[in-house]
Amino acid sequence: MDALTENWDIILEGFLKTLQLLVGAGALALVVGTVIAMFRVSPVPVLRRTGAVYVAIFRNSPLLVLLLITYYGLPQLGINPSFYWKIVLAMGLYTAAFVAESLRSGINGIPLGQAEASRSLGFTFGQSMTQVVLPQAFRNVVPPLASVFIALTKNTSLAMSFGIAEAAFRMKGLINDYAADRWTIFIGIALGYIIIVEAISLGAALLERRWRAER
């Protein structure tokens, strides 16, 4: 236990970095993912195709290789953001593909009849969008988006190999220093991740329940 209790401050600091990565990459993923999702459900074929290609490429690439590109590759093009942004860029663009898929499935999950009904009630496009389609789409999207963010939380651990001192990095360091305590260290750090993951899924469950009550 000593390894954990003596080093709780650097572990906490590590998880703070993890959360920073989560917030940065999550925000980028939401913005880019929303744009791509709009492309994918748009009536313009070229935009749909562009969105589909983006998703196919980023969903099938290993995140680690994308990190190699932003971390080692971009500087070779004279583009040199800070460590943090290089990691956030790769993680955000990668996660955006999954965000886009979740949003798309949430929008497409609404029965066509809902739009037809609102049209037959004389709603304009804007009204049926804001009153009928989108509120339901948001609700549909909560559970899959939560799993995307849970996956992102776990993926932030990849930053470890690029010199960002987040939780996984701290675990590796501690295991090196306290080899005898590696089980406790592993379980301790794992619990830290599980707490973040549980917080996200709890938040999603609350959001869902609230929106369900309005149905």
Binding site: V41, P43, V44, P45, V46, L47, R48, A52, A56, I57, R59, N60, S61, P62, L63, L64, V65, L66, L68, I69, Y72, P75, Q76, L77, T95, F98, S105, G106, I107, N108, G109, I110, P111, L112, M129, V133, N140, P143, P144, A146, S147, I150, A151, K154, N155, S157, L158, M160, S161, A168, M171, K172, I175, A179, R182, A190, Y193, I194, S201, E208
Partner: protein
């Protein structure tokens, strides 16, 4: 994609003209983007043959890359086979009637699904005292535990997806539990699960890249050797990306084909990574089911993330 969606009507002549204009602008934008990318690459000497792309046309280096690819595929194949076995055992374990079997299985599956794969791999490697020649084992075991836990959920959901009457009928015929499981439920469940299993193969293959961190043999480790020698980081990373992409897109295509061929577009979605509660999982399945009815015959969605 000619089916209608909730979002817009079938376009009239004016809308069609507008769509064409937006389409043309997008194409122009993409061409400009491509030009800027190529230009930046050229300006920074990334398109030169010598020292940048040379290794990838030199037989000796192609051989090294090929070796790395074989190691990566080997890790992925071992991982998937192991994960299938792990998944069957723990998936069925979670369905057990006995609490003392069900509960530990649940705990193990949820734990390995929630823990980042990378820290699991690093930890396993530390159990081998960080020996380099054991890094492959650490990678494969980590992949088995993680993907196996995901597949356990797939198996459980797949078995639950078989209509209840099937098991009841089998029991009524006097079959024993293992017979019901083995000859009635499993064969039907496997058919439903196949697309999910294939998308899990993609996840496993992508995650073999994590071997980079513990220097396990494989593509990413080979990549490090190449750029150590030439300093061509970007070119090497792009080559790795293309190799992974080609294999994964082929698997993706195979998954869709299997989905069409064997499940008639019916799809089981338990790709939820992490520890979602039963309720969320149910809701997600509903979303997925709803999506399927809305975009019947549309393209399938692969597993979430790895």
């Amino acid at each position: 994609m000619s089916q209608s969606t909730v979002l817009y009507d079938t376009p009239g002549p004016r809308a069609r003209r507008l769509y064409r204009i937006i389409g043309a602008l997008t194409v122009i934008g993409l061409i400009v983007l491509g030009y800027v990318v190529v230009n930046t690459l050229a300006d920074n000497g990334q398109l030169e043959y010598e020292g940048v792309w040379e290794p990838f046309v030199t037989p000796a280096f192609l051989e090294i890359l090929w070796g790395g690819l074989l190691d990566t595929l080997r890790a992925a194949v071992f991982a998937i086979i192991g994960a299938l076995i792990f998944g069957v055992i723990f998936g069925i374990g979670k369905l057990s009637e006995h609490r003392f079997v069900r509960w530990p299985c649940w705990l193990i599956v949820e734990f390995f699904r929630a823990v980042p794969l990378l820290i699991l791999i690093v930890f396993l490697w530390s159990l081998y005292s960080l020996q380099l020649d054991r890094s492959f084992q650490a990678l494969v075991i980590g992949l088995v535990l993680y993907n196996g836990s995901v597949l356990a959920e797939v198996f459980r959901a797949g078995i639950n997806a078989v209509p209840k009457g099937q098991a009841e009928a089998a029991y009524a015929l006097g079959m024993r539990k293992y017979q019901v499981m083995g000859s009635i439920l499993m064969p039907q469940a496997v058919k439903i699960m196949l697309p999910s299993i294939i998308s899990q193969c993609i996840v496993a293959l992508k995650d073999t890249s994590l071997g980079f961190v513990i220097l396990a043999p494989g593509l990413t480790t080979v990549g490090r050797q190449i750029w150590r020698q030439f300093g061509n980081y970007l070119a090497t990373a792009l080559v790795l990306l293309v190799i992974y992409l080609v294999i994964n897109l082929l698997l993706d295509w195979l998954g869709r084909w299997v989905e069409r061929r064997y499940t008639g577009g019916r799809r089981l979605d338990v790709s939820a990574v992490g520890v979602l509660g039963e309720q969320e999982r149910l809701a997600q399945a509903q979303v997925e089911a709803a999506r399927q009815t809305a975009t019947m015959g549309g393209s399938g969605v692969g597993g979430t993330t790895g």
